[in-house]
């Protein structure tokens, strides 16, 4: 079974990303699937009868299109066709902070060690690292920085509100509302 990083640990991946399903009938049975937004929108009711379904978003998909589904969807994946396409970072930020999505938020596609720290700051908690790369090596990416200046999904309190108060306590500890 393929593996991925979930919450800073390497775990087995039960989910299958369905990249281009020709139809609803072409979906694998009995296995949790992550379907494209377009299929979810066209066949939402039929898909909802399956036990485990997630949705993946292209870089230009509007995360707001899932309004109404955020409470019920267990998993949303965001695709990075190339790691240099940074739209997925903002998609993640909106899913967490605007739409209050609390399920698994997974980065898929060209997911590499050197971007993991940024991805996690933006609210991703699962990382399907590209298949030809070592997950053990990728884990090291999280340790690139202990802290940053900005307010992020993971650390909503910007550094300037933490510099003087409890400076040492907050170091490298996720914020209370870490998804």
């Amino acid at each position: 079974m393929p593996r991925l990083i979930k919450d800073s640990a390497i775990v087995e991946d039960r989910w299958t990303v369905v990249r281009e399903p020709s139809s609803l009938a072409a979906l694998p049975l009995e296995t949790p699937v992550i379907v494209p937004l377009a299929l979810w929108k066209s066949d939402r009711n039929a898909l909802a009868t399956r036990s485990e379904v997630g949705v993946w978003l292209k870089p230009d998909d509007d995360p707001g299109a899932l309004a109404g589904d955020f409470a019920s969807l267990p998993l949303i994946a965001v695709d990075f066709p190339k790691f240099t396409d940074g739209r997925g970072y903002s998609t993640a930020k909106l899913l967490r902070d605007k739409y209050r999505f609390t399920g698994e938020l997974r980065a898929i596609g060209d997911v590499l060690r050197d971007q993991l720290y940024y991805m996690r700051q933006c609210g991703f908690d699962a990382f399907a690292v590209r298949a030809d790369r070592s997950l053990e090596d990728a884990l090291k990416g999280f340790a690139d920085f202990s802290d940053g200046y900005q307010a992020t999904v993971r650390q909503p309190i910007p550094l300037f509100r933490r510099r003087t108060t409890a400076a040492l306590v907050t170091e490298n500890t996720p914020a209370a509302n870490d998804p």
């Binding site: 790691f83 970072y89 903002s90 590499l112 940024y118 690139d144 202990s146 909503p156 400076a167």
Partner: protein
């Protein structure tokens, strides 16, 4: 100036360690060329024609003498004993070795410097007025705000992979010395009738292939909302900026295609997400940042130095230098001095390591150990006692840094061009030198008066050619280097983009072309009219006629 605390030091140290490991993995074949490229670019490292080029960040152009000495040392130890100051107020070294770069970054970290985001599709160095804090026309000191924005931009996780590079400039004066109208975002610090500070926000200016003047998308932004608002602009750009065509990927294209009104609406809506949230800037943080930019311990002086007038009357070269290179200071008895990096025969913006050491010593003696880099590629001592101007001038002359040409035709803004840069279509440095040699007669140069000549070796416009009164752009015609000339560009609060006068010229024709443009001006100018004013009054025609009647 801003000083690092424990957090800043750790962040930069971690960045150095990260890049050291990335470089190691690249050299070991664990990272491909394509995977490494964006990582090295965001650490300031280009691969150039002859060698890598490393661009070091000088936040809003402020530099201490200690930092300058470190740059001198790096130039000597890892490069060929010189560096080049850029129009983004940064410094580049043209000959470092790839394997040495992590070590250079580690050395920079010891003096609170780095090369973070000096290149790549991310937020670049924040620039501002090189006379910040000392100009009489200043409304708000922009430096604390530039520092606030610098920290927000540095390693911002959401905006590390933008469609294209992104440049922000901050201005706090009634006069715009930071070219804010041609930035992706221009931030104008202003005061309302009660004296409260707020911001006017401009978006969508820029040079490059499609030059544009920025649009005001908000006349008044409460100062504590600045980061929330910038977040909103960047998020709209990150999500919707074009990524299908590198030449249409800057925010100016998005603003234009969506229309400024529609773009503004999107930003205002996005702003609501962060508005009033944790990134709203508390007064304590503004005060903390402002405390780094308090005035140095000036001597209490009555007014203008009385001896200066006599020295000026006595000494024409000194008079020239004071007239061109000395800028008034808001504190009585002080002045700001521009060190010209535009001596004929030296590539504009270049300084040797020996000069850097000497400048650092002079900054310690004459200007509280601090200096600034201007986007015109000169250096500034901001706090010099008028009574010491003559001695300083004498010393600068000995170093070749007292050319009295600030604001004149030979104060050329110029990118490194085809001699160094692999993007360039044509060389720029030899053209600058040829023009400087043509106008080596100081009396004639002074008679011409204020005129800016900006030159870029390619469309990327590092030499800001669109906003030069005379703009020169290197173009490639069937593998040969040609030069396209525009006139009528200007920086400042009345910024305008130059118009191309016609077909391009060979390198050898360029001094004559500039001469003829100047001749037309001298013949037609009204009293007290600058070159740009005459061009605006007469239009292109008389200039075109003269240049093409005789050149072709």
């Amino acid at each position: 100036m801003y000083r690092y605390d424990h957090f800043d030091h750790r962040l930069v140290a971690e960045r150095v360690a990260q890049f050291r490991d990335q470089t190691r993995r690249f050299l070991a074949g664990e990272l491909t060329e394509d995977e490494f490229r964006p990582l090295r670019l965001q650490n300031g490292l280009y691969i150039q024609k002859h060698a890598p080029m490393l661009r070091i960040s000088i936040p809003y152009g402020v530099l201490s003498s200690t930092q300058l000495r470190k740059l001198a040392h790096i130039g000597r130890k890892y490069d060929r004993g010189y560096g080049h100051f850029t129009t983004r107020q940064n410094l580049q070294f043209n000959w470092p070795r790839l394997g040495d770069v992590p070590e250079i970054l580690a050395e920079l970290a010891t003096v609170e410097m780095h090369a973070i985001q000096t290149s790549g599709n991310c937020e670049r160095n924040i620039t501002t007025d090189h006379f910040a804090g000392i100009a009489a026309d200043e409304v708000v000191d922009p430096r604390p705000w530039a520092e606030l924005i610098r920290q927000w931009a540095a390693l911002n996780p959401e905006f590390a992979y933008l469609p294209r590079k992104f440049k922000i400039a901050v201005n706090g004066s009634t006069v715009d010395r930071a070219a804010t109208l041609v930035h992706d975002i221009g931030v104008h610090a202003v005061r309302n009738e009660t004296g409260e500070v707020g911001f006017r926000v401009l978006v969508g200016g820029g040079l490059g292939r499609t030059p544009m003047i920025g649009y005001v998308i908000r006349e008044w932004l409460p100062h504590d909302e600045i980061l929330n608002y910038l977040d909103a602009i960047l998020r709209v750009y990150n999500r919707f900026g074009r990524r299908d065509n590198i030449y249409k990927a800057r925010i100016k294209i998005l603003v234009k295609e969506r229309t400024p009104a529609e773009f503004t609406r999107a930003v205002e809506e996005e702003w609501q997400l962060g508005r009033g949230g944790p990134a709203t800037v508390p007064d304590e943080e503004i005060e903390r940042l402002a405390s780094f930019f308090t005035p140095p311990p000036y001597a209490k002086l009555k007014g203008d130095d009385t001896g200066l007038r006599a020295l000026i009357a006595d000494n024409r070269p000194f008079d020239n230098w004071v007239g061109r290179n000395v800028f008034p200071h808001k504190v009585p008895g002080y002045a700001a001095v521009t060190l010209s990096l535009k001596k004929t025969g030296v590539p504009p913006g270049d300084v040797t390591s020996d000069q850097m050491d000497a400048i650092a010593a002079l900054a310690d003696r004459y200007s509280f150990g601090e200096l600034r880099v201007s986007h015109e590629q000169n250096l500034v001592f901001a706090d010099v006692r008028q009574a010491e101007l003559f001695r300083l001038w004498t010393e600068l002359k000995g170093l070749g840094l007292a050319t009295p040409n600030i604001g004149l035709l030979t104060d050329i803004i110029c990118c490194p061009g085809g001699d160094f840069c692999s993007l360039a279509n044509a060389k720029s440095i030899p053209i600058a030198e040829a023009v400087q040699r043509r106008f080596d007669d100081l009396d004639y140069l002074y008679d011409i008066g204020e005129v800016s000549l900006n030159m870029s070796g390619c469309m990327n416009a590092c030499g800001h050619h669109h906003i030069g009164n005379i703009g020169v752009l290197g173009v490639d015609k069937n593998g040969e280097e040609w030069y396209q000339v525009s006139i009528g560009g200007a920086q400042g609060e009345n910024a305008s983009l130059g118009k191309v006068i016609g077909p391009s010229f060979a390198a050898s024709e360029m001094p004559d072309v500039v001469s003829r443009l100047i001749e037309v001006y001298v013949e037609h100018r009204h009293e007290d009219e600058r070159f740009i004013d005459t061009v605006r009054r007469l239009g292109l025609e008389p200039f075109k006629e003269r240049v093409y009647a005789t050149a072709h």
